[in-house]
């Protein structure tokens, strides 16, 4: 993911510098001095061909990079270590771990926390029970839509410990700004401990009054 961002950003900066320079250069060098008309040329076929072909090549290369990165990001492992079902609702999220009865739901005042293990594959199954929401963890550079009637599945393979904030990224009503959550990555051992703790207290989501 970072590779995609890095390449595109540097390519973008380079293009801005070059094309921006080409825009500014005539403004500095060919300002009007006197009444004589400048040479009235209208075309230069070699240049027109070059300025078509080079961007085309750049775009093809960028596509290849983009395709490879996306394929890697969207790859679904055959057997994930952990599965979390995520349900978006107005205005918070519910996380449940199938195979256990662990269920965590939040409120706009207090977003829920999802705990997942480090260096293992967690499968997220995402859906909504009302309007469209969008499940976004900025630290993972990733978001996916929660749409009623659809299940969106994706894998995370976190390589950093820590607590990462998440937000809703699709306007879903008046408390959209407060539809936050947290993803906490812990060691596999800590994860097992957390699951055991959670089994004893789980909260099903309550529909907040709209």
């Amino acid at each position: 993911m970072h590779l995609d961002w890095t390449v595109f950003t540097y390519a973008g900066l380079a293009v801005f510098a070059i094309v921006g320079g080409l825009i500014v250069f005539p403004l500095l060098v060919w300002r009007r001095r006197g009444d004589a008309l400048p040479p009235q040329f209208r075309r230069n076929v070699p240049i027109e061909i070059v300025t078509t072909v080079i961007p085309l090549i750049m775009v093809v290369l960028l596509f290849i990079l983009s395709y490879r990165v996306e394929s890697a990001v969207e790859h679904l492992a055959p057997v994930p270590s952990v599965v979390v079902n995520v349900v978006g609702f107005r205005w918070s999220w519910q996380f449940s771990y199938p195979g256990t009865d662990v269920r965590v739901a939040g409120t706009p005042q207090r977003g829920p926390e999802m705990v997942i293990p480090l260096n293992e594959t967690t499968r997220i199954n995402l859906t909504s029970v009302d309007v469209n929401h969008r499940f976004w963890v900025p630290a993972f550079l990733f978001k996916r839509d929660a749409i009623a009637g659809m299940n969106n599945a994706f894998d995370w393979h976190p390589e950093r410990l820590g607590s990462f904030p998440g937000r809703c990224a699709e306007f879903c009503g008046l408390e959209h700004a407060f539809m936050t959550f947290t993803v906490r990555v812990v060691s596999p051992a800590d994860f097992k401990r957390w699951l055991l703790e959670q089994r004893s207290r789980s909260t099903a989501y309550r529909k907040t009054p709209q």
């Binding site: 825009i23 005539p26 060919w30 300002r31 040479p39 209208r42």
Partner: protein, 545 residues
């Protein structure tokens, strides 16, 4: 053969006064003026909405306005700016210019033309009237995704008024395009072959084609939404076999071409301005025309890049076509650079705004290429990064071209020249203000701030960047006020304007400022894409094509 220009007395075509003469007019010049002034009026309204939003967001955790008010503001800001300012201004400018640029006396269907203006105005007022009804105006965003915009969750009248107003705007735009295409096909003056029409008119041909292809999808989508809301439909209701994704497909099949409808006319404006103030013909005329149609065509095939995160579309197809659109856009940029290259450049206000357009649109275009890559979009989508991207292309692009167009053609339309010094100050305010407002937003987006939030927590850097953005917006507002003052003062001063104050190339500069009712008392011979240039420089007149 050369024609000596006889001085044409300035026959004021706005001589017939009275409100009734404006209500019954079918003169394309008057209709163009109606469209443009109405559009600018809506710009002020939507701009003030933006100022309110920026005031609310200047600091974290503020409650200057409520979440509900904020939702109405961002919905109406987007809807009004897009449907009632940027597009109508272009259509109004084209209304004024196309017959003049091709040497025609009026549009092909003058009364249809008038109808399209009035239905657009009524549509705009219908959308805005939502603010006065119980429950307030539409508050589901300018794309009004189902199920949020469905009757269960958005039961208020405001949403229905929004839908009806947009249906009226659709009717207006579709009929206008038919008018434009017919006029350009049939009413070109002798010698004005298609390959000699000005680039602005070509861009309007491509825009009109896009409107015909895109707006029906919006009309269908909105009608389906109405049926779901009031007639027991379930198009977008998954519980009954429908799909929210269907709404998005139909919306974006319109929505993406819509953004090209918002920029192609302004590519044309910028081309005319750069040529005039570089005193050179457009570089690569053929390339400009072909790239306009390449952009229009490709833009019909990229719609689901707005749906990369739905998991319901083939991301690679749309990524590929979206990245591909950068190529014809690049061709245009290189052609603009080629036009300025070895030119003789002066920096009057229209040219300053055109240069601002080039730099801003370059920025927005580059970030557009970035979000065309799905992995980048997975982070940037619906964050402030995206908000910045699209404001750079529409605000930094279209809006700057609108200013360029106003300063460039104001003398032709009204017979009044706007003050140059205040124009330049206005440009500086707009350029500095615009970039100060939107550049920080790239960072806010990357840091994780989503769009459409009425407030945000006090995270490091978020408050400062937002404050900078609000400051920039205030500077832009100052520039707009200066523009208004400029208009009023210049109209009061009213120094007469010659036919051709800038040294223009195209036919509108061959007639008086403002033009007589029948547009032309005489026409120069048309043997190239620059008939007025050829008139003034017969020794350089191009022959052939």
């Amino acid at each position: 053969m050369s024609v000596i220009a006889a001085p044409t007395p300035a026959v004021p075509s706005l001589a017939r006064r009275g409100v009734l003469s404006w209500i019954t007019t079918t003169d394309h010049k008057r209709i163009g003026i109606l469209y443009m002034t109405t559009a600018i009026g809506f710009f002020f309204v939507a701009g003030m909405m933006a100022m309110l939003m920026r005031a609310q967001l200047a600091q974290p955790n503020q409650s200057i306005i409520t979440a509900h008010q904020y939702a109405q503001l961002f919905t109406l800001h987007g809807t009004v700016m897009i449907f009632f300012f940027v597009v109508p201004f272009a259509l109004g400018l084209a209304n004024f210019l196309i017959p003049l640029q091709i040497g025609a006396p009026d549009m092909a269907f003058p009364r249809l033309n008038a109808f399209t203006y009035w239905i657009f105005l009524i549509g705009a007022l219908t959308v805005m009237s939502g603010a006065a009804v119980n429950g307030g105006a539409a508050d589901t965003g300018w794309f009004a995704y189902a199920p949020l915009s469905g009757i269960k969750i958005s039961s208020g009248l405001g949403q229905d008024l929004w839908i009806i107003g947009l249906l009226m705007a659709s009717i207006s735009s579709i009929l206008t395009s038919i008018n434009f295409l017919t006029t350009v096909f049939i009413y070109r003056a002798p010698g004005m072959t298609m390959w000699r029409i000005p680039i602005f008119t070509w861009e309007m041909v491509a825009t009109s084609l896009l409107v015909l292809m895109a707006f029906p999808s919006l009309a269908a989508d909105l009608s389906m939404l109405l049926i779901d809301r009031h007639l027991g439909g379930h198009f977008f209701d998954p519980a009954a076999g429908g799909s929210p994704v269907l709404y998005q497909h139909l919306f974006w099949f319109f929505g993406h071409p819509e953004v090209y409808i918002m920029i192609l006319p302004y590519f044309g404006v910028v081309t005319e301005v750069i040529c005039t103030f570089s005193r050179k013909p457009v570089f690569g005329y053929t390339g400009m025309v072909l790239s306009a149609f390449a952009i229009a065509g490709l833009s019909m095939g990229v719609w689901a890049h707005h749906m990369f995160t739905t998991g319901a579309v083939s991301d690679p197809f749309f990524a590929a076509v979206s990245l591909l659109i950068a190529v014809p856009t690049g061709i245009k940029f290189f052609n603009w650079i080629g036009t300025m290259w070895r030119g003789s450049i002066t920096f009057q206000t229209p040219m300053l705004f055109a240069i601002g357009f080039l730099l801003n649109f370059l920025d927005g275009g580059i970030t557009g290429v970035m979000v065309a890559s799905p992995p980048i979009d997975f982070h940037a989508k619906d964050s402030y990064f995206l908000v910045s991207h699209f404001h750079y292309v529409i605000g930094g692009g279209s809006l700057f071209a609108i200013f360029a167009a106003m300063f460039f053609w104001f003398p032709k339309v009204f017979g009044v020249k706007l003050n140059e010094v205040w124009g330049k100050v206005c440009f500086v305010c707009e350029f500095v203000g615009f970039n100060l407002t939107f550049f920080p937003m790239y960072f806010l987006g990357v840091m994780g701030m989503p769009r459409r939030v009425y407030t945000y927590p006090n995270l490091p850097g978020w408050g400062l960047l937002n404050s900078l953005a609000t400051l920039g917006a205030a500077i832009m507002a100052v520039g707009v006020i200066l523009f208004i003052v400029n208009v009023i003062a210049s109209v009061k001063r009213h120094t007469p304007v010659p036919d051709d104050p800038w040294g223009g190339f195209t036919l509108e500069w061959a007639t008086s400022s403002p033009p007589p009712p029948n547009n032309f008392d005489w026409l120069p011979p048309i043997r190239s894409e620059r008939p007025v240039f050829d008139l003034h420089h017969p020794e350089l007149a191009k022959t052939g094509r």
